[in-house]
């Protein structure tokens, strides 16, 4: 009993930590540019296919293909997304931008479907999936390494944001762009960095999570939803919040599927979302931004 619980908990933490990467990117972009990116799920789906392109069309070795996928993601989902979609549309208002990101999601999804394949594609695993034994629980090595790696990325990111000059400038920009500008921060550049980091986080999450499933054009639908909910549950304006939200969803999802209902496990995000709105609308670690007007 206990060992099964531990097993469920650990593999939940492993997927949860990957969700957290996506949620953190989502929250960063939201802070820096008031952009609610409804294509975030597709941002996680696409990089896996870029890697497959590198492997199958350019005959790159796995590490080369991963680097290729990462670079292309940063270019397309970071720089191009900001320059071609967010920058021209943001002045028209938040709702217009939301609709544009929805259209972008459709564009990415359909492009992958038409230009690559509508079928699920096997994706090479970065880590071996040998089972290992931890206190009686049988967990795959892949899960453990996924967890370690994504937590490592979060720690690095936090260090970067808190300890480096660029990171602190990015934080200042997110909190108050007008003041940051006066203090001599290159606000535009900082916002661009945020988009690049979001793209990189999405790509890394993609590389870690896709081996668990298959690479499929429709993967983004659930992933995006889970990332939004993780960010909301944890607290929209906090990296720690998105991390906690992601881990929580990963674990709860596994627990619900194992112990409550497998048929309705996909309804968990909705239930969590409504609960958090009713009980703690600012998120578990969030601070209230003032009342709704």
């Amino acid at each position: 009993m206990m060992s099964q619980f531990l097993q469920v908990l650990l593999s939940g933490l492993a997927t949860g930590s990957i969700y957290a990467l996506v949620a953190i990117g989502f929250a960063l972009v939201w802070q820096a540019a008031q952009t609610i990116n409804f294509a975030q799920g597709e941002f996680v789906m696409l990089p896996a296919f870029l890697v497959l392109v590198g492997l199958n069309y350019f005959d790159l070795p796995l590490w080369g293909a991963l680097l290729f996928g990462l670079a292309m993601s940063i270019l397309i989902l970071g720089a191009a997304f900001k320059k071609l979609v967010v920058e021209p549309i943001l002045p028209h208002g938040g709702i217009t931008l939301v609709i544009a990101t929805i259209a972008l999601g459709i564009l990415i999804r359909e492009s992958v479907k038409e230009f690559y394949s509508a079928e699920g594609q096997p994706f090479p695993s970065i880590f071996p999936s040998d089972p290992i034994n931890i206190f009686g629980a049988v967990v795959s090595l892949q899960d453990i390494l996924n967890l370690v790696l994504s937590l490592g990325i979060v720690v690095l990111l936090t260090l970067f944001l808190n300890r480096t000059r660029t990171g602190r400038c990015m934080q200042a920009t997110a909190q108050n762009p007008a003041v940051a500008e006066i203090l001599g921060v290159d606000v535009k550049r900082m916002v661009l960095y945020t988009f690049l980091i979001n793209a990189a986080l999405a790509a890394l999450a993609s590389f870690l999570i896709t081996p668990v499933y298959l690479a499929k054009f429709s993967n983004g639908e659930t992933l995006g939803l889970i990332a939004f909910i993780a960010a909301i549950i944890g607290g929209f304006n906090q990296i720690r919040g998105a991390l906690v939200g992601g881990l929580l969803i990963g674990v709860l999802d596994n627990l619900v599927a194992t112990y409550v209902t497998a048929e309705y496990r996909a309804a968990l995000p909705l239930i969590l979302l409504i609960l958090i709105i009713l009980v703690r609308p600012q998120g578990i670690l969030g601070t209230p931004e003032g009342r709704a007007v």
Partner: protein
């Protein structure tokens, strides 16, 4: 637009809608009927999005609620005219229940709640086989029989749908020109000022969403009878997004925007048939490009052309700022 010109235009459009399907094949009539159905769904979403400024990503789910309620009841022997109102009412209740928590918080929470709601509806439709037939769906849904006027053939059903659409549009016209409509416009232009003048922004937004969802239910009741076969896959997230884009493309916040947007979304696959599978890709690109250059949609585009080529009194731009309150 001058009032008389608008009236002539409306009469002309209705005449066209009556005359167009005459002598056409069943397929064309089917396409036209589904244009009407999606116009109804988009009209409802336009109230939520265009007038009340809230994003709902679950209009297809409300169509599902309307469609399944109507289908189940008509299969059990009810008349469509009795079954449809129940489906529509169910949508109001569900919309209210979803919107109530979501609209308590500032930000686009309704978008997230409705996004997640799509999944729940899909799961219920798929898992509760005893009620919904699961993945096999419901087959053989009857079309309404109106005494002398049977709608089993496609042309009479088209006219039936047209009548329902016109009634729904008139009701919507009543809403947007009532004091509510004025409150919506005020809300869109300056929510803080509206609130300070006693407009209960939260409540009116919630009601707009619930009423908009009712139109989704009505569209669902119509599509159940049109297609006569429904299954969970016809009401997925992709369809909700499709209706949202109809509203955006036509022109959110304009009364006739949804009709135009639905027309484009229904007809585009036909026009772009030569591109085979790529039409959604082309469509998505067109939408993004349109949002960059004319965020107000096709009706806004017409306004630009008119301003450009037909001289009209110009408001002084330097006096238009100031509405923004921080």
């Amino acid at each position: 637009m001058a009032a008389w010109l608008r009236r002539i235009l409306i009469v002309a459009l209705i005449t066209l809608a009556i005359a167009a399907p005459l002598g056409q094949g069943n397929y064309i009539i089917y396409v036209m009927t589904s244009w009407l159905v999606f116009s109804v769904a988009a009209m409802g979403l336009n109230l939520t999005l265009g007038y009340a400024g809230q994003i709902s990503l679950a209009q297809a789910s409300f169509m599902a609620i309307g469609a399944y309620t109507t289908a189940l009841l008509t299969l059990a022997g009810w008349h469509w005219l009795a079954a449809m109102p129940l489906g529509v009412l169910a949508c109001f209740v569900v919309g209210f229940g979803l919107g109530y928590p979501a609209l308590r918080v500032k930000g686009h929470f309704l978008a997230f709640v409705t996004l997640a709601f799509n999944t729940l509806v899909f799961l219920v439709l798929r898992n509760e086989e005893w009620l919904t037939g699961g993945t096999y769906g419901l087959v053989g849904i009857p079309r309404p029989n109106l005494g002398l006027f049977s709608t089993m053939r496609s042309l009479p059903f088209y006219y039936f749908t047209l009548t329902v659409t016109i009634i729904a549009a008139l009701a919507m016209w009543g809403i947007v020109r009532s004091p509510w409509g004025r409150a919506f416009r005020a809300l869109r232009e300056n929510p803080i000022r509206a609130e300070s003048l006693g407009v209960d922004t939260r409540r009116i937004t919630l009601l707009a969403f619930a009423i908009g969802s009712m139109y989704g239910g009505l569209a669902g009741a119509l599509i159940a009878s049109l297609v006569q076969f429904i299954e969970p896959g016809s009401f997925g997230l992709a369809h909700s997004l499709r209706i949202l884009l109809m509203v955006a493309v036509g022109g959110a916040g304009y009364f006739f925007g949804p009709f135009l947007g639905a027309g484009v979304v229904i007809l585009l696959p036909e026009i772009l048939r030569f591109t085979e599978g790529y039409y959604l890709i082309i469509y998505a690109v067109l939408v993004i490009v349109m949002l960059i250059f004319v965020p107000t949609g096709m009706i806004g585009m017409w306004g630009r052309i008119r301003d450009r080529f037909i001289a009209r009194p110009v408001a002084r731009a330097d006096l238009q700022q100031g509405a923004q309150l921080k």
